[in-house]
């Protein structure tokens, strides 16, 4: 398939850089399938970019208390970013999806969360809202998100207190975008039967 088309940018559109102060993650084991892209759902010829947009709501397992996106809202302003970097040698290159952020906490809940983050390395999918209005999905059920960097602590008198965290996924491709305006991000655990 030839997909290298013309690429244009509209003048007069402001594109603020960076990610918002919130992110979402879910264990892969709580996902039931994977949304189709707008291109897969389109009858006829898809529009440019449709292969990168997940255009269905996520489906979840029906286990009580599971099946929802967790929120991470303890992120320091101006620190988060999502990157798609091409890595590897010529002939074997692929994109690495990365999300870097700083948690300005060093208390018991933060330390516990960091332990659990590493314990679940490779077992989650993340979604990160960016300031330009997109929702980048990092990882997929076959390529979970791994923890690459956690560094920090009390800091010294001139440092920040907290932890710099980088997670990444190696799907080989750039991040997919999720149409959260249309399909929503489910934040509700499955209720008890009859609940």
């Amino acid at each position: 398939m030839s997909c290298l088309l013309s690429l244009t940018k509209q003048c007069g559109t402001q594109l603020p850089p960076g990610a918002k102060l919130k992110a979402y993650w879910i264990p892969i084991s709580e996902l039931d399938g994977w949304p189709e892209t707008r291109a897969e759902l389109t009858q006829g010829t898809p529009a440019q970019g449709d292969t990168k947009i997940l255009d269905e709501p996520f489906d979840f397992v029906d286990t009580v208390g599971k099946g929802f996106w967790r929120e991470l809202s303890a992120i320091l302003v101006d620190t988060p970013s999502v990157t798609n970097n091409l890595e590897g040698q010529i002939g074997g290159q692929g994109y690495r999806q990365r999300y870097n952020f700083f948690i300005p906490l060093n208390n018991a809940p933060a330390l516990e969360w960091l332990d659990c983050l590493v314990a679940n390395s490779g077992c989650t999918v993340w979604m990160v809202p960016t300031k330009d209005g997109n929702y980048h999905v990092i990882g997929d059920p076959d390529n979970g998100v791994f923890v690459e960097v956690v560094e920090g602590g009390t800091g010294t008198s001139e440092d920040r207190l907290g932890y710099n965290v980088t997670i990444y996924a190696n799907t080989g491709y750039t991040t997919l975008l999720y149409d959260a305006d249309e399909h929503g991000i489910n934040l509700t655990p499955n209720p008890a039967q009859g609940g």
Partner: protein, 68 residues
Amino acid sequence: MSKIKLPSDVAAHFELVEWTGGTRQHFGKYGLVDLEKITLTQAKKLASKGFPKLKPVKPAPAKAKKEE
């Protein structure tokens, strides 16, 4: 079929359209929508912004008065 319902005062004016998942969801530019706590004012604001999951309920046609 989803068991999720709007509060009765909101349901008198709006119905849910293809709502999947739980009651509390984040909808991008529309923000957090919690169907257990949503007020009629919030529902009207969401609808005025074009929120796709809330559709105004058409008022039931008034019954014609029977002539004797």
